[in-house]
Symmetry: C2
Subunit: 105 residues, 2 copies
DNA sequence: CCGTTGAATCGTCCATGCTTGAAACGTAGG
DNA sequence: CCTACGTTTCAAGCATGGACGATTCAACGG
């Protein structure tokens, strides 16, 4: 029960996952990626022309988002399409402090 | 127009403030503080007994939250009460990527 | 095959933010 | 006043995450 006192069990359970999720979003590049993907799936090359950062750097941030289970990647020939995971928006909303519903890990 | 290409003006406008807000929340201590304050105002000593971190450290994180305009502090005698700013929840919800409404700075 | 393109991975460097300990500040009480 | 308490501020140390360059991988086209 990492941070909160033993009395706050339920709160502590939400905390770890919620913070991890928010940390994934709280970066300029990753926020931009998610905001673009909110409009629908995009291939990496498409993201790259809208977010002016080095290709390898974008790849790094996509990996972080993948490991947070916020986006999914599917190869389409030479390209790779990224899309928001279906419940991404819900999980993020639930991760905000004070949210009534728990974070689904 | 920091990150997003010139074509994404509106998105870029939201980005900076949104990320700043999310960065303030994406920390275990600050998340715990906000989650507790969501139930109502609390004095620092009250927060301190529910979040087992050093006093000065808690004070540091409270300052970050103050500077993000998420919480307000008012002195009551020897103690200082912290409370969520009224529109804190709305501002946070609006800061999530894909949110339809812009972030009010 | 071989070159090219889209994308991911690796190794390294650097800055930023969290943590810690000590000191300072404001308030109340004896 | 002088002390005690609650809280903040200051001056470090330290770790971690993000940036960069070079390399690797996978798919397609000639």
């Amino acid at each position: 029960m990492s941070l909160l006192g033993a009395a706050d069990g339920a709160r502590a359970d939400r905390a770890a996952g919620a913070v991890a999720l928010l940390q994934a979003v709280a970066d300029p590049v990753r926020w931009a990626v998610l905001d673009i993907l909110a409009d629908g799936p995009r291939c990496v090359c498409d993201l790259q022309e809208r977010i002016p950062v080095a290709g390898n750097l974008l790849s790094y941030h996509l990996k972080v988002l993948r490991e947070a289970d916020l986006v999914s990647a599917t190869r389409r020939g030479r390209w790779i399409d990224y899309a928001l995971v279906e419940d991404a928006a819900d999980r993020l909303a639930a991760a905000l402090p004070g949210a009534r519903r728990p974070v689904t890990t």
